[in-house]
Amino acid sequence: MINRARTDTPVVSLRGLRKQFLVGGALPWSPKRVVNAVDGVDLELREGEVVALVGQSGSGKTTVSRLILGLERPSSGEIWLDGQRWDSLSEAERRARRLPYQYVPQDAMGALDPQQTALEHVMETLTVLGGCAPADAEAKGMAMLRRLGLAERRDALPREMSGGEQRRVTLARVLALEPRLVVADEPTSGLDPDRRGSVLEDLIGNLPPKAACVLVTHDMSEARDWCHRVVVMLAGRVIEEVDLHAARPAHPYARVLFDPWSGPLPRGELASTGCPFRPDCPDAAGVAGGRCAAELPTLRPRGPEGSGAHRVACHAEGPRQAPSADPAQVGAS
């Protein structure tokens, strides 16, 4: 369960972030088309905060996570890390400043060197990236392995490790650097459900106190249990930001994502004008004036004025912005 203090100091600020990809068709000569993988994302992460980025595949969550660290270049918009503009830096300038901002990849086995032991992996990161002296790196590396319960596996090669152990070696490498920000792209994918919790406990429980963390996931229980805030993406946009400890998801799409049996199953058709979720939305008919077809809903605060923690992009939310709004009535109009 998440139990970390947050401050008001932002670590990450995304402003109007967009990323377009040119994708080819089925055949080499089919015309290429532009895909808006990320389509205007604003997001802030503060010190100590753990935020889940959730959505189905193709929602843009992985692209956002890669953009934050400069692993992709945005088509437009701004990325700020610790008050410094990040996207306008050259790759060489970024490299010099990259150390505090770390990425945990999805494919742990692919990220590990088959010929290196657990300890060697951590030591290499500490000496090559962290500039540690080898003796220092060994002590620090062992300390981190011990914290992750890998002390006895220090000499194990990746192929001798279980999936969970491989995962924890990739975590040890990142955490040993005492990062400011960790972006983890589905760090538990492919693991048994019971092992997932312990990997997240190892990651989040061992973050430096003021570090921020982005957890990309499609497992809603991970988002609920391990994060302060959940950011739900659909078609390249953020459609809801919610603290699940204080409120339930309100956007019709977010509601299905968190409880797939709660309503009709979306077929995944997206509208190109107005609200993208309209073809699958059970609430669209109740919104007056055909606004869902005409106008793209933007994120607006919901619930008690000023709390600002819960924001939803849905026209059905309009009339319920008054502080007296009844949370039980969400989406029922």
Binding site: Q56, E165, D192, D194, M220, V256, F258, P260, W261, L265
Partner: protein
Amino acid sequence: MSALVEMRGLGIRSAHRTLVEDISFDIDAGKVTALVGPSGAGKSLTARATMCVLDVAPGLFAGSLRYPAHDPAIDWFEGVRGGGARAQAALLERSRVLRGAYLTYSPQAASSALNPGRTIGQQLAMAIGRRAQPPADLGEEIRRVLADVGLSPRAAASLPGELSGGMCQRAALAIAVAPKPRLVIADEPETGLDPVLRRAVVELLVEVCQVHGAGLLLISHHEDTVQRLAHAVIRLPGRSGGGER
């Protein structure tokens, strides 16, 4: 109506420890039976034992397995209990007639069961060929099975590599039900999917089994799925002290 599977007192051990012990259950025709339990409880092992696949040594030490709807007199584990790897290999051989006909298996990544070098139509023709009674018109039957899983007849001419992931999943399901099995065993079909896809996949699985009159043994670790879809639940107890972290 007689049960499809009658398992009594199943016990399997590895060289080091007991993996499952004293597991008994019935699987009824035309119903969805969920098999649940924490990881390490032996869900896959139990499901494999249900189709006479015993692949640990020394392996089976207790239990009986009958398929009453096939032949209530035969205890398939007769002579296998305590017989070790050789007896288990002989059982695997003896029970070959059942797998792919009386019961079919859909592995975790369903599309991994597809043969990449053969068209979906060729694979379906083979699966249909295992039926006791061959259909009058094979081509027509292939189209019908494809339609049941929501695929167009054109999919028959495609190789698995030419289809999307979702279509491959549907094709694999078509192949699992094509022999008209009495029971389909689906090994965690929800693994790695987001919630919306998860529901779509299991709903399709249940619906297709129902259309074909097959019972379904669904291995799942999602309580919501079990609550919504299962008519009966087999709960395996967790084992303490085993497994890695």
